[in-house]
């Protein structure tokens, strides 16, 4: 379930005018921006952006960038973007880091539906005049490149059918490669990147039935081995996205100084989808609610904005 609270009735023009008002004069009225944009769904934000452009001949995101700064600026700008375009922007930034953030790429490639991934690829091409796989190939190397290229190019079958015989035989293939520590053998990547999610969940379950241990356990090893970590991330994103996101939030919050990029990303990308469910899992594992953790670890407008997306306005 979603967390954001958006009104059914709203006026894009009025919102655009109020945003403009909040930006005019000395200083910006950040709280006004939060009270508007923090309570509009993707479609409503899109209409506001169009209205803003129409009335003021200015790009809303550019305007926000000029007025704001820091984590709050990044968060509210990402939030205001169209979801597929936002994922394209996040992917591009992740690739251009000194050490590319392969987790984010896998997350975008493996959690959304096949059609959602296509929409991101389309948005990426439109914005950067490159395909996403082109940039993945250019910014990464070695085994990690193989797995990233495979998952980002996938257009999986998304039916619910599941072939038990195939699950059995592929559980065996996976186990063999893992036993031999032949992680970079092609079969592992082939299976993880081409099979449907329903099929893979079946295969992961058969793996556990046959071998008495989860497949991710078999892929533990040197903690600095990014390739193994990428395989584990792929499996986790397919097996249980909610649990995966709860873990990303936990790591982001427990990082010294907080990893605001990761924190914002999960909240922004899931607030309209399943953040309520992720919050439940977070609470179960950490004995503290996500709201409390955010209240403790963040501050100012950034905090107020995240809480608004969580459906918990500060008043």
């Amino acid at each position: 379930m979603a967390t954001i609270i958006a009104p059914k009735e709203f006026s894009p023009i009025e919102d655009a005018e109020n945003i403009k008002k909040a930006c005019l004069g000395w200083g910006t009225d950040e709280r006004a921006l939060i009270s508007i944009l923090g309570h509009r769904n993707a479609n409503q934000r899109k209409l506001i952006g169009l209205a803003y452009e129409e009335v003021y001949q200015e790009d809303l995101i550019q305007q926000l960038k000029c007025e704001l700064s820091g984590d709050f600026e990044r968060a509210i700008c990402h939030w205001t973007l169209d979801p597929a375009d936002r994922d394209a922007v996040l992917s591009n930034a992740a690739l251009k880091k000194d050490v590319p953030d392969y987790r984010l790429i896998i997350e975008i490639a493996c959690i959304g539906s096949p059609e959602e991934l296509l929409a991101v690829r389309r948005a990426y091409r439109h914005r950067y005049k490159h395909s996403i796989e082109e940039d993945v190939a250019a910014y990464t190397t070695g085994d990690i490149r193989k797995v990233l290229l495979a998952v980002v190019s996938a257009y999986r079958y998304d039916g619910y059918e599941f072939d038990t015989q195939m699950a059995d035989s592929e559980a065996v293939i996976l186990h063999e490669e893992i036993q031999e520590k032949a992680y970079n053998h092609e079969e592992l990547i082939r299976i993880l990147s081409t099979r449907s999610k329903a099929q893979l969940k079946g295969t992961f379950n058969r793996y556990r039935d046959i071998h008495g241990t989860s497949i991710t356990k078999g892929l533990l090893g040197d903690p600095t081995d990014h390739y193994l970590a990428a395989l584990r991330t792929t499996i986790r994103c397919i097996r249980d996205p909610l649990k995966y996101y709860a873990k990303v939030l936990r790591t982001a919050i427990n990082t010294v100084g907080t990893d605001e990029d990761a924190l914002s990303r999960v909240i922004i990308t899931r607030a309209e989808k399943d953040l309520k469910d992720i919050m439940k899992i977070y609470f179960k594992r950490n004995n503290v609610t996500l709201e409390n953790a955010i209240e403790r670890d963040t501050s100012g407008d950034y905090k107020a904005f995240l809480l608004a997306l969580l459906g918990k306005d500060e008043l």
Copy 2:
């Protein structure tokens, strides 16, 4: 330019009725089928199929399959399919051959626009409950699998921009791998499968400028090496699809006994697109028109049907 001649005005119901009439009674009136279906474009054929289903509660393709046989049956059924669905059917058949026909897969992956390839992938998933990349991975192995998976999963940028510096540097990378006969190095596949076609054409031209020879020449070698042949096919399909198709036609016609599958495929898939241009290239290279070659090498309804698609009805 297209070759088929389709009327602007037509009635799907009337066509469906006439097709039914041609199928009723003893024997089938193949010439009537040709005179209808051989003169309808993709959209018209779709409407006829819908009308047929509506009026007779029967699938038009199934009906044709029951009535006809041999090369003519295969050709007219493929022709009647929606183009993306037809490419999905052709790909699936190509993969399931004893020796998978990698050329057809590359052709479909590299010649259509990125959106056309997506439509084929979507049709494939819908029809076979598997993604095309899943079946490519399952039915092929080794280096050829790498190149097929990469091109079939691509969603290339399709703008006309072209980066001269990148063309220079990638021409050098390609030449190095080719010189060292390190064909299966990742760079070659990465460049061929991720860069936009405009960029690749630029890179191939720079390759020729710098090294005085075409890139495909560097990839000649053992004629039984399917992997090298796949790389050459990829390059040819990107560099000059018309010339590529003219070559496929030449080979199909020159094969002892004629390769009807390849002959039908090119004519059916290009009759509504650019077959007229392919025919010009064919004539230039072979000193015989494609019509004459077909008249000499084929017979019966199959011949009549191919000629109808070429815009040359036998009367």
